[in-house]
Symmetry: C2
Subunit: 235 residues, 2 copies
DNA sequence: ATAACTGTGTGAAAGGTTGCACAATCTAGT
DNA sequence: ACTAGATTGTGCAACCTTTCACACAGTTAT
């Protein structure tokens, strides 16, 4: 007997749902019918109880003593994440990274329909990348009136990010995947996720040098490690 | 009088250090000499106390009543993150994403020296990307004996990731930035950071549709939002 | 000197997330 | 039917992270 109502869903849970979905797709391709939370732990490194709790935010999907129907769970999670229908997405910034993202298979796999690419560089405007022509960012408001994209991928230089983001939001974009290393100041209703290679590299760099003396052979499985010994101490 | 010794540093702290460093570089270019934790909050959206606590893991860097010397703090953080010297980094996977990363300016800015690119696709081996020639991954062990890279960027398809990661680790790589959507099972001593656009997009997608009815104009500043109302409830 | 500010470093509180442990529930075999 | 075995959904405790709040330390002005 479920009772979820207006409880709030942790953001990490949403991220993990995407991981579950990936595993379910693999299982489906292997013609597996049923899966248990323990199986999922085995595949993802995410604790079985965590998996069950993540799902419990949205209802009850499993049968005690049996597990979860792969096909059913897949549909349910897709519905939760709203990727059961194709979603229009726009890309702004057709530089290195932007162009690479156009071909990224993960987008279509997750029903993200890249419908337009924008840039402000006259050298790039009009160019064809994959199956899309790069358009002038100045035309964004007009074009998006037709496209109605609510999700945008922002792959412009840091200096331009805030300005461009405001243009997007003015044209009804509600969610931004931001690759620029800057803080975007936007209305609270707009959701921003920052992808920062910098930060990840910092973590790696720190660890590499601090692990200098350790030596053991355990397996690691979790998606994120938690903390490490500091090494430097300066004043 | 500091007393940090073998306390453990939270991973989020390391990520934020990279952000502070970015802001400090901007401040230096604007010829600002001194900065307070409140200034940093203004620039980054990260709570001032958080900033001070993050630094406190490594020592004392500020003067009460004055703030922090921009130049000094910059050096200190760079030293903590071990990016005060150039670090050799290798890239595996010269596909779309991999190629884009070769040109990514953030790498050099953070003293990451991309010294070699590998792939297993014969069509790509030998090709020049920017200033590097793509080498056969089979030669990795040999080549890295000379290069001595400890950090690797893994931008190969999911199916190849585990296999390649093991090759890297066998050749003394200790930290991997993994762009493949798979769980890497590696010795615990190896640090893995996963970058998953999928997960970020899932969060965006979920939010876009759930925000359907809201309407308010507050500013958002933090780097991460925390939770949201669920909308779906299925069985 | 002293008073009035400003801003650091940190102990303690608040808040959020993860993992354990177990009752409840379903299946299958006898 | 009944028992044994499997596996879910969840209250609770442990853990981790963030934020508050304040003592203490420099700085400036009088």
């Amino acid at each position: 007997m479920p009772m979820s109502s207006s409880n709030r869903v942790p953001v990490p849970t949403l991220g993990r749902l995407a991981t579950y979905l990936r595993v379910l797709t693999e299982l489906e391709q292997a013609h597996t019918e049923t899966v248990s939370s323990a199986d999922v732990e085995q595949q993802t490194g995410i604790n079985a109880a965590q998996f069950r709790k993540d799902l419990s935010y949205f209802g009850e999907f499993g049968k005690p003593g049996v597990g979860y129907s792969v096909a059913r769970l897949q549909e349910s999670i897709a519905a939760i994440l709203k990727i059961d229908r194709r979603q229009p997405v726009v890309l702004v910034g057709a530089g290195n990274l932007g162009s690479a993202l156009i071909g990224y298979p993960g987008l279509t796999e997750h029903q993200m329909d890249l419908v337009a690419v924008f840039d402000n560089n006259p050298q790039r405007i009009g160019c064809q990348v994959r199956n899309l022509y790069v358009q002038d960012i100045q035309r964004f408001a007009t074009v998006n009136e037709t496209l109605q994209a609510r999700i945008a991928i922002l792959a412009v230089p840091a200096g331009a990010a805030q300005r461009v983001a405001e243009v997007l939001v003015a044209a009804d974009v509600r969610a931004i995947l931001n690759f620029a290393p800057t803080l975007l100041r936007l209305p609270a209703a707009v959701v921003v996720r920052n992808v920062s290679f910098m930060q990840e590299l910092a973590v790696l760099s720190y660890h590499v040098s601090s692990n200098e003396q350790e030596e053991n052979g355990e397996e690691q499985a979790g998606e994120q490690n938690n903390s490490v010994r500091p090494i430097l101490h300066s004043t």
